[in-house]
């Protein structure tokens, strides 16, 4: 199943998510995160997309996984944050 969301991050940029997910298992099978935000280093966003595969579509679990990737890859977001990413993802399934 594929679903999309567009979410304006409060005080931030426009986040667009294309989400493929397994409805029965409630997990992400593929995710593409696009928009006019900034990520340092840029390549880290692709790591984050990979690390979100097979993650359960639960807000708390998503936020934890996003935060752990942020700290592991020393990612700095501008115009975006972990909460908003989780929000954008959850909007795809609500």
């Amino acid at each position: 199943m594929q679903s999309r969301s567009i979410y304006k991050v409060p005080q931030g940029k426009l986040l667009k998510i294309t989400l493929d997910y397994d409805e029965t298992k409630n997990v992400i099978t593929n995710i593409r995160i696009t928009g006019d935000f900034f990520v340092y280093p840029e390549e880290a966003l692709e790591h984050l997309e990979k690390k979100l595969k097979n993650i359960c579509l639960e807000r708390k679990e998503l936020q934890e996984q996003i935060s752990s990737v942020i700290s592991k890859y020393h990612i700095e977001f501008i115009g975006l944050n972990a909460e908003s990413l989780a929000q954008g993802i959850m909007m795809c399934v609500s």
């Binding site: 696009t34 990520v39 340092y40």
Partner: protein, 254 residues
């Protein structure tokens, strides 16, 4: 004596060459082959650049671009889609460790934008930095900016709008909701301005470049010495243009 940085006035080039030259300067400076560099340039043919994280097909009407002879390219910097036509584009390349560059990314945006604002002031336009990455005058955007940090080097490039054609811009960009497109266009016309609009007269690229040179010199307390791309930079730029910026793989990667 003031520190001397290099000034490159590379004139008008196509989108792929323009983005390739900025990246080539970044690589050359990271290898300590060239001094900190400020570059002024324009776009011919007109082009749309999209931010590194944007989806090309979601942002741009590719058929309209072909029809109107407008190029499109993905930048190595984040941020939004920009229609480059009547503008001066600047770039600055400098080591992250240079004492004049704040370590904090947002503060460094503000610092570089300070140079653009001083340049606008030389033309008689007062402006202010509007975080995250805009410069506004009377609340209306006159400059958009985007920064990347790679190889321990900062590259920030940005636009200084000399004139603006919102209708053409929207004929090239896709909007999330076609039904509200007219309202969106009206909103953007209210929120964007240009040097021509502010001053009520045309100002040449050369005049804007002169003012911006002064702005960068004043902000960073340096002398900008006019120079040229090195052979190595030109070769690198050609390589980046052919291997990435002009390719479908690069431009459609997201």
């Amino acid at each position: 004596m003031s520190e001397q940085w290099r000034l490159l006035q590379t004139g008008y080039a196509n989108a792929f060459a323009n983005m390739a030259i900025d990246k080539a300067i970044l690589v050359a400076h990271s290898n300590e082959k060239v001094p900190p560099t400020v570059r002024f340039y324009g776009w011919a043919p007109p082009a749309i650049s999209i931010g590194y994280f944007q989806s090309l097909v979601e942002e741009i009407d590719i058929n309209a671009c072909h029809r109107l002879g407008v190029d499109y390219v993905r930048r190595i910097t984040g941020g939004g889609a920009v229609f480059h036509e009547k503008e001066l584009t600047y770039s600055i390349v400098i080591a992250e460790s240079h004492p004049t560059i704040p370590k904090n990314i947002l503060k460094s945006y503000a610092r570089v934008c300070g140079a653009v604002m001083k340049g606008l002031q030389q033309l008689g336009i007062s402006s202010e930095y509007a975080p995250i990455n805009d410069i506004v005058t009377d609340g209306r955007k006159i400059s958009g900016n985007a920064q990347t940090r790679k190889l321990k080097t900062v590259l920030q490039h940005g636009t200084v709008l000399m004139d603006v054609d919102v209708d053409t811009m929207f004929s090239l960009l896709k909007v999330p909701n076609e039904k509200i497109k007219d309202k969106l266009i009206a909103d953007v016309k209210q929120r964007v301005t240009s040097i021509r609009h502010c001053l009520g007269k045309e100002v040449s690229f050369k005049q804007v470049a002169g003012a911006m040179k002064g702005g960068f010199e004043e902000e960073f307390h340096v002398d900008l010495i006019e120079g040229v791309l090195t052979d190595e930079e030109r070769n690198l730029a050609k390589q980046f243009e052919n291997e990435s910026f002009s390719t479908k793989e690069w431009n459609q990667r997201r």
